[in-house]
Amino acid sequence: MADQSVHPALKPGDEEIKLVINGKEVVGKKGETIISVAAREDYYIPHYCWHPALSVAGNCRLCLVEIHLPNPRNDNKLAPLPKPAIACQTPITEGMHVFTDSQLAKECQEGMMEFLLVNHPLDCPICDRGGECMLQRYSMEYGTPHTRMRDPKRKYLKPEADPLIDIERNRCIMCTRCVRFCDEVAGEHVMGVFARGSDNYIGTFGQGPVANILSGNVIDLCPVGCLTSKPFRFKARVWELLQTQSTSIWDASGSKVTHWTRNGRLYRTTPPSRKYHGVYTVNEDTEEFIDNITRFGSDFPSHENRWDESRVKFGENLLPAAFTEAVRRVATGLKKVADEHGPDSLAILVSPRSSMEEGYLAQKLARDVIGTENIDWRVSFQTAEAAEAAAQAFQHANGDLEDGFDAVVVLNGDYLHSVPAFAMRLKEHARLTGKPIVQIGHHHDAFLAPHSKYKFHCAPGSTAKALQLLSKGVGGDTSVVSELAKIFSTESSRVEALITLLKGVEGRGLVLQSLEDLNGLLLPNEVPAALAFVGALGGGWKYIPTLRDRNAFGLHAVGAQPKADAEGKSVNARQLADAIEDGTIKGLLVLGADALHHSPDRERLLASLGKLDFYAVSDLFDSDYTRIADVYLAAASHLEKDGTFCDVEGNLARLASTEGLVGGARPEWEMLTGIATIMGSDNFAYETVEDVFKEMMSVIAPDFKGTFKKLLLAGPRNDNSIKDPGGARTHTKDYNPGDYRTDGAHFRWTGEPVAIDDQTAAPRSVPESGFDGFLLTWGEHVQGDDYHLNHASIVELLQKAPYVELNPVDAVKLGAETGDRGTLDINGESYEVELKVCEGPAPGVVYLPAGLGGIKLSGLTDTQAVKLEVVKSNALAEAGAGNTA
């Protein structure tokens, strides 16, 4: 170590501290705690309450260690501290000697283990945590084999609080990880410690649910059997299950997951399992948190409506056929249409949940074999104009959270319910570092609001104008301040402070834009405005557009949409229904019927399909979209195939097959290869999906250094996991943090920012003031109607009841409070919704998460005025009822 200027564990500028752990000289940086340094040096210190992602509680006392310190009053001779100290909280100091396995440390560990088991029911045979329980492990490693407990044990009632999380308080060790997670990470203190002393217990107020999109993570955080998964309850023992590291197809944040399967059935999905003492398990120290849809909704391929045999239309009937026959029929069907009506009478629609390889082959089929630009994945936008704006946004995306940020400007959107894990990471960075979040627009993210330094509301349609003025403001033009203050309805001083803040950012700044907002209606002027704003802010600023669609970025990167110069000349997803209606499109190949389901005008699209000469679709299910096909291609689900996905930050991750193919289902890349080959191409000679990957990467990112295999490896973004002695049991592989980064891949745009003219930036028309109602803003909600989620086994527990967000100012006017019910009138239709009063929407605006409770928002072309009426109930009395046990 002598010749190293900076210790590998430190960064330049860190203050180095030398200490001794169990006789070994080690180095840490000032401010680190003993437990972190020890973990790095392979000294495992047992712990329950400590968790790297949570604040220090110091309550389990299991990490007590013996400490000797040099005594300056006695010639710096080592003197033991009178008491043992907790390693999770005690900062390291120069010359400190730490003993993690001394007689005293062992006595402490044994004592705490005995205490924790004194009231524990020891019901391991019926406990779902069995096999991955830290109480079991530590009992073996740090406990004593006997117990001296002779008295009756404490017993608690078992509440039915949450439909997804089972609470068994008798097993609780009061580490309060779940409470801290809800409070600190998930953003709301819904779980708590109630009562006092040895009678205290965890729970929720009034036995309510832990209603949060991230709530399932408390299951993994719980080191014992107190909080377990209800859907997984009593289904299997974890050691019987096969683990596969893969990635979420739900969350465009790019969450890595482990699928736990047996006999082709998915039992549970968790954050990546990691090796702990030779066994791969959901490591309770993991900092990867996943959303509930990923966790509980991934089992949809087992739905009873699954069609795992390809089908071909004979007369009026769609009858099972061999895969090869089905592919042949598709190839000949497409060729026939092309021969009769020309290549541009064909279109290919790709699901936004398709892999990059599938998107790549689809566009290769369209461009190289058929010869058309009619290929698209952008199904969820309201207008073709919006889809084009989205393409522009992706073209200029260049930011990520990898190295944090010094400031972030968040534009309109409900990020938590669009890209949950990404929103969580963003908030965590702001919370832990105190870096400012600035929210601008007509709808702020309520989840980020408590951590937002500045929040500026403006009217719907004015965001672009505000950004244009701000761009001038940061450029030194002070004349814009008063106009901005008017747009934001605030004092000039706050606007000046904002401009000062933005100008003062010397390091990394981020601008976030949700393409989900109003499902894109306003994007045609907001995207250029945001890009110009990033440009005006200067060098350190980057741009991240977000969209709920899992592989939007990957599909954009492989070119699965019309080229920019072909937009307008080709048929994109939003123009498809019209094009079929007017006979421009005669043949259609759809890869994944969810592409149709997610279209805002899906009824019209569905009705138009009958006019096609040829319609082929690959999918999983018997559904309205597949029953009417000329050819149905049985597709492999996300659990059965391999492929590559790209998240909103531009990171690649590999989807991995768990236990191989089911029935006659095949991955789409095989279908596309077959179709292209039969259509006469000899450029589709792929043996494996890895071949596709290699070719794809050589085209879209020639400098890419990673490999397809390495992309399988999932892991946390900051891997400070506890190291382990080795000895894998499953086929899971180790994780190297560098492997899955897309270094060398040109997924990030580096060119000049675009300019925006006044006309583009001008506020969109909004209804005249003085109308009797609210302006509606909306976006897709991850817990809403979803083709795949609708087939999940516990869909009813995952989909949320419809609600609207309402500004407190309006709530006061209406006399409404959170929990009240109301009716929302949109275009003459009336919907019953729950009211949520929060700082999300601007005054005069309501935010409706689209898709909840089947509320459809098709046919909207501009900001709408809607009516909201409150059905006043006594929410307080309701909350109080039923609490008394």
Binding site: R61, L64, P82, Q89, P152, R154, M174, A195, R196
Partner: protein, 463 residues
């Protein structure tokens, strides 16, 4: 009344009572009355001095905290980081240690002496805001203190111009709501911040990072009252009656089986024998003395053989106990030590905040075992288990020195001390499955702590 007169002892010949002089004749509850007897003179003295001069006087007086830990007050004040503002003074009036009832008469009968001490202390530590955290059960104390604070504000004694000096001192009276743990200084702070009264992890200590994460000094009511008197009368006056490093007067609360229980203002120079037999008039019904708990329920018990120990911090430490909060409980020969321990163990189980493992589980387990022995259901090995859990002295056993705060230790000490003093009684309970003490109360047979289901509050109390 609880404030009791002193006998004519030669040892007390020159001793002057100031905290609670003859209350009946010398009413000083109102500001008007207090000003007549020289009230707030100490503030004038303090205003004329530099802050560090006041701290030096307090250091010189040898004043040590009256709450129980006995930490030198002047030294505590000097831990405040220089130049860090705002900083707060917090008065610990959460007097909850069983056997202790001295701060209540101080607040109820002479509230202005506390305000005077607070102003002096605020000047010394350069704080502009003080909080008085009064335990919830002291309804009257809170009311009297609030009235006195209001009076002081109206008279310009508190507020932004303390007695015309231009200095600012604000005092907020804050009530607890029934939690012994809030007497622990950091738990008091979390409670004052509006949370469950959980002790904070130390370090950092409150003087560095305390209330609202700002530097904070926490002192007991009697300590702060002493500050005022020391300024008025001088450090030398305070040191006139001294035993080793125990200087000045203290309020002694005597309860239990003595003829005259009460709150006595005494110098720390008398022996336990003098206190029980001269000051308190001897044992009730002239029974035999069984044991003394000399400093609040947490401290080790003292047997009659140590009656000649001096009632001071050092004197009691010499016989293995502690002066603690100076709440002395005296037990005569009718008291079963097992029963007495069961009572105290139930107290600590009830009052453990439940935050950390050893105290939460340990206090309950100890109580279960002790109560079972008391019930006559003790088994062989129980005493060894008690020993293993409670240890044999400081930082031994499974709780002491391993919990977040000292409540864990406080729950264990009575157990180890009772075993030290009355091992034979415990063994007899186990062997005979019964108790030989005739007037034993049988309430503990209604096993209120065991085998219940807990959804709401507590297993203590009736439902």
């Amino acid at each position: 009344m609880t404030v009791s007169t002193l006998p004519d002892l030669p040892a007390l010949a020159e001793f002057e009572r100031v905290f609670l002089p003859n209350i009946e004749e010398d009413k000083t509850e109102t500001l008007e009355e207090y000003l007549k007897v020289g009230g707030y003179e100490a503030v004038k003295i303090a205003l004329a001095k530099k802050p560090e001069e006041i701290t030096e006087i307090i250091k010189d007086s040898g004043l040590r905290g009256r709450g129980g830990a006995g930490f030198p007050t002047g030294m505590k004040w000097s831990f405040l980081p220089k130049g860090a503002h705002p900083r707060y003074l917090t008065i610990n009036a959460d007097e909850s240690e069983p056997g202790t009832c001295k701060d209540r008469p101080l607040m109820e009968q002479r509230p202005h002496t506390l305000i005077e001490g607070i102003i002096c202390s605020c000047i010394a530590i350069e704080s502009e805001k003080a909080f008085i955290y009064i335990r919830g059960e002291y309804y009257k104390s809170a009311k009297v203190m609030q009235d006195a604070v209001d009076e002081a504000y109206a008279a310009g004694i508190l507020g932004d111009n303390v007695m015309g000096s231009g200095k600012r001192v604000d005092v907020v009276v804050h009530r607890g709501a029934g939690a012994y743990i809030c007497g622990e200084e950091t738990a008091l702070l979390t409670s004052l911040e509006g949370y469950r009264g959980y002790p904070k992890l130390k370090p950092p200590f409150p003087a560095i990072k305390g209330l609202y994460d700002k530097p904070t000094i926490i002192n007991n009511v009697e300590t702060i009252v002493s500050v005022g008197w020391i300024l008025k009368k001088g450090a030398d006056w305070f040191k006139k009656f001294t035993h080793e490093r125990s200087t000045g007067q203290r309020l002694l609360c005597v309860s239990g089986h003595v003829k005259k229980p009460g709150v006595y203002e005494l110098p720390m120079t008398l022996t336990l024998r003098e206190i029980i037999y001269d000051v308190c008039g001897g044992m009730r019904n002239d029974h035999d003395l069984k044991f003394i708990i000399p400093g609040g329920s947490s401290v080790p018990w003292v047997l009659p053989e140590h009656l000649d120990a001096t009632w001071s911090m050092e004197g009691l430490a010499a016989v293995g106990s502690s002066l603690g909060s100076a709440g002395m409980m005296v037990m005569d020969h009718t008291v079963c030590p097992v029963w007495a321990l069961a009572n105290l163990s139930a107290f600590y189980r009830h009052e453990s905040c439940g935050q950390c493992t050893p105290c939460r589980e340990g206090s309950a387990w100890l109580q279960k075992i002790v109560m079972r022995i008391e019930r006559g259901e003790g088994e062989e090995g129980d005493l060894e288990t008690l020993r293993a859990i409670a240890g044999t002295g400081p930082n031994t056993g499974m709780i002491c020195g391993k919990s977040i705060c000292a409540l864990g230790d406080a729950a264990a000490w009575p157990v180890s001390s009772a075993l030290n003093c009355f091992w034979d009684d415990f063994e007899e309970h186990i062997k005979t499955k019964g108790c030989k003490y005739k007037n034993k109360r049988y309430w503990m047979q209604d096993d209120r702590f065991v085998n219940e289901t807990y959804e709401h509050k507590p297993s203590w109390g009736h439902h």
